[in-house]
Each structure stands twice: as C-alpha cells, then as structure tokens.
C-alpha cells in the first residue's frame, strides 16, 4: 500500500543549523495495517508524515502510495490518497463554516469540485447517520458553525471528515495530545473503531506509550531520523510496557521523559 525507500530529509542544508531529520528510512506498509509510531521530540515522526503527505519534499528517496510514485507530487494532488489529522483540533476544520459544510468538503477529498450545490438534502441525511456514530449529539447541530464546538468535539468531527471518503492511508499526528484525558480516550477508541471497521491503512504518531502498545498491529520507534525498532504480528500483540522498557531500556532513556510508561 505504502512503500518508502531510503528517505532522507535534511533541513537547513549546508548551514550551521543543518539537521538531518530523516536519515534513510525504508518502510513497507501493508494494506489495512495500523502502525503506531513513537519517539522523542525531534526524532522525525512528524517530518516522516509530512514527507508522506507532501508538505515537504524529500532530499533523497522515494514514496509510493497504492503502487504510484508520489515523491514529488504537490500536497493537494496527493489528497485523494490521504486523510490526515493534526494535534491541534483547530487545524482540521474550517471554524466559520457549518458542520455539514465541513463534512461536504471532506467528502470531496481529491475529487474535482464544480458549481453544483455544496450540501444536498441527501448528503445531510447521510451526515446525520454518520454523526450518530460519535454519540456527541452533533447530528442535531448540522448547521451550527464549527467554532461553537469544543476541542474534543472538533477532533471527533475531524476524524469523521478524514475517514468519510475512505482514504488509502490515514495519517494521525498525535491527534489526542491536546485533549483532556477523558476526551482523548474517547477519541482514541473511536479512532480504533473507525479504522477497524473500514480496514483503513493507518500510521499514528503518539507520545503515549500505552496508546502505542494497546492499539495497532505494528509499532515503530524512531530515533534521530532512523527506525530504531519495528515490532509486528504476534510479538506486537503480546507487547507490554514493561517489556519495551526491558528490551529497549537504554535507547528509551531520554524518550521515557515524554512517553513515560505507567508501571503498576
């Protein structure tokens, strides 16, 4: 589904601030796979997503999505393959527009837009059903502006928007990090449910070790722009926080600051 070959990204090249953000990453993501990515600040997690999404172009290497090379394709042309959610709940929605308008825009991801009506009656009925999944009562507030929603509600809406058109690849960039613990739990459970039900290929960055271990079929840890370890299959299913700490203790030394495992 997604193939990344020897990707390299260097910021501020040939200056004193030169920083190798991604240092030769190769990765093959199978269709329907749910990958969690952990790593400390500056490990290159977000840069990796940005390279896949086309926000930045790599210095070397190639990116293929669904058999097509997209390495140099501009961001808006890759949109039809990708759904993306950012950490900041404000980034995923247009706040001055209504819930139904936001959903309608998301549904046309990567498709051509014309002069036909933006939100039709049929779409409205469908969105009502979709929004019921969230259980937030948003189905009765279709024509409310998004600015009236809370951060958690907005992130849930963003999640629904990202998955509405069933993207080939879903990119989640610490999308629960700025929510309160209770809302974060709700959003992560919803994420898992939607990803599983639709068998979406997903890459999720997280700072939360428990999330990284409990969700997904495969876990990758990045360190200084390289893949430090890659656990999948049976091994991933039986993975525990203690085991990660035991096996990768030395490497985790500074990472644990941010993804402190809860050892009971």
């Amino acid at each position: 589904m997604v193939i990344i070959e020897n990707l390299i990204k260097i910021f501020n090249r040939h200056t004193i601030d030169e920083k190798v953000a991604i240092d030769g990453i190769g990765l093959e993501v199978v269709k329907g796979e749910f990958i969690t990515v952990i790593g400390s600040n500056g490990a290159g997690k977000t840069t990796l997503l940005n390279l896949i999404a086309g926000t930045y172009l790599p210095d070397e290497g190639k990116v293929f999505i669904d058999g097509r090379e997209v390495t140099l394709l501009p961001e808006y042309q890759r949109a039809k393959y990708l759904g993306r959610i950012f950490q900041n709940p404000l980034m995923g929605t247009a706040s001055s527009m209504t819930i139904e308008e936001n959903l309608a825009m998301a549904e046309l991801r990567g498709k051509s837009r014309g002069l036909s009506w933006g939100v039709t009656k049929r779409q409205r009925d469908r969105y009502k059903e979709f929004l019921k999944i969230l259980g937030l009562g948003l189905e009765d507030r279709l024509s409310d502006r998004v600015s009236l929603l809370s951060g958690g509600q907005r992130q849930c809406l963003t999640l629904l928007m990202a998955t509405l058109s069933l993207p080939k690849l879903l990119l989640l960039d610490e999308h629960t990090a700025s929510l309160d613990p209770k809302t974060a739990e709700k959003v992560i459970d919803l994420t898992d449910r939607i990803v599983r039900e639709n068998e979406l290929t997903t890459i999720m960055i997280t700072h939360n070790m428990n999330q990284a271990i409990n969700f997904g079929d495969r876990m990758i840890m990045l360190h200084e722009g390289k893949i430090q370890f890659d656990i999948k299959g049976q091994e991933k299913r039986h993975l525990t926080v203690e085991e990660v700490v035991k096996r990768f203790g030395e490497k985790l030394e500074d990472e644990t600051l941010l993804c402190k495992p809860v050892v009971e």
């Binding site: 999404a53 961001e75 808006y76 042309q77 949109a79 039809k80 990708l82 993306r84 404000l90 980034m91 995923g92 929605t93 247009a94 706040s95 001055s96 527009m97 308008e101 309608a104 825009m105 998301a106 046309l108 991801r109 990567g110 498709k111 837009r113 014309g114 002069l115 036909s116 009506w117 933006g118 939100v119 502006r145």
Partner: protein, 297 residues
Amino acid sequence: MDILLGIFQISLEQGLAYALVALGIVISFRILAFPDLTVDGSFVLGGAVVAKVIVLGYPPLIGIILAILIGFIAGCATGLLNTRLKINSLLAGILIMTILYSVNLRVMGRSNTPLLNYITIFTPFERMEWRWLSIVIFFALIVFAGKFLTDLFLHTQVGLAMRATGDNEQMIRTLGVNTDNITVFGLGISNAFVALSGALVAQHQGFADIGMGIGMIVAGLASIIIGETLLRAKSVGLMTLAAILGSFIYRLIITIGLWLGLAPTDLKMATGAMVILALGFPALKKGKEEKLHLRGI
C-alpha cells in the same frame, strides 16, 4: 422635511451605486481573508473602459460587460502576483493599483472623460416620470442580483472551497484543493464587482475620472464594518446583505456630514477616522478594561 427626504434619496441612490464595491470587498477581505488594495484601481478601470466604449459609439451594455471582464482580469493579476510570484498580498494589490493608474490613463487617453452628451445606460431614464425611483430600482435590481448570485456561488462546491481557503487554507489544501487557483479566481470575481460599480457610477455621474477611485477601499471597508456591526453578520447571506446596508448607512452618514458643513475636502479624512475608530474600538475598550482591572476594580 424636504431636506431630510433629499438626504435619504441621495444616500439610497449613492449607497446602491457603491454597494457592489462593498460586495466585492466582502469576497476579498472577508471570504478569502485577502486584504486586496486593487480596488482603488479596478473601480476607475471599470469607469474608464465603459467611458471609452461609449465615446467610441458602442452600446453602453457592451462597455459594462467589457468592464466586468477587464476588472476580473485585474483581480486575477493581483492574485497571480501573490500566489505565483509569492509577493506579499498588500504589496501585490498596491502594485496592480499603481499599474492600473497608467492603464486607465491609456484607456481614456486623458484624465477625465465627460459622458453627458453620449447615450449611457441611464439615458432611457431621463424621460421617465419617476426618474429617481426608476434609477434606484435599476440599481437595486443589479445589486441584489449580485448579492443573490454571490450567496448561491458561495454555497456551491467551489464556493465552499473558497470560504475554506480564507478560513483554514492548510485544511482545504489537504483536502485536495489548489488554494492558489481559488485565490486568483476569488480576487477576479471581487474586482469584477468593483469594476461593474465603477462602470455604473461613471455613467450615473456623467463622467469617468482618473481620481474617482481614491479611497474606495476605505469607503468600502467602512460600509462593511457598519453593516456587520448592525446585523451581527456571521452567515454568508447576512454578510453580503450587511455590505449593501452598510453602504447605504455610510453614504447617509457622509451626506448628513456634508449637510452639516463637513468640507468635501475632508471627506476622506472623516472616512479614514471612521474606519480607525471602528477597527480600533475593541482594542481600546479592552485596554481600558485591563487598566481598570490593574487598578483592582
């Protein structure tokens, strides 16, 4: 009473004539969040093009259509400077506005073109019994047609993408919209409205003048702010309505000011002060509250 009626009549007529400028500015400033200063030039451009066409002996309608098209191109030019050449939005508008000054002089061949002895779109109204009323209805039909079409457009798929471009550009780009193209197109529409207004105003006042666009952006902004304050406009339909209502109220204030003895030379200063007050009021109010707070009240 006659004077008050006169003030009302003049304001309504003027307000409607300039309402299309405010409508255009709603699209650039409010929908696209693009501070477009092309307006001062594209307003004159509309007047200059229509004047030239009329003087050459063609029907005024052709002049108006041509003015709309050329206004559209002028707006696109500003958009292209900003999106393709990465020139700052304010500077891009100023550059095209400056260039248009020369273009407008070229089009007219001089700085002022009188139209009093030519057949304009308003000539048929001359002989009408209810001249003022018919002209107002004529203006109102055009303005509300413009408002209605804008409202419709902003609810289409492309229109939603345009509103999202002004609201959250990153988000709509990740949804596969080329926001550069949308910006260029939106500024085109905005300036097409402005040029149409210029074309109508030139014929209505009986001349096109190189200076007729000075301060147009500020007057348009004043109109929008007045209208939005009165209507508390958040939705698209209310925003465009606010522009029209604001344009009328703005002209009303100006006309009353002139009647009370405001010198026409001070008009732009008064308008500027009005906009500064309206824009600065929230900050001033907040500052005062903070000071009060510091004093422990």
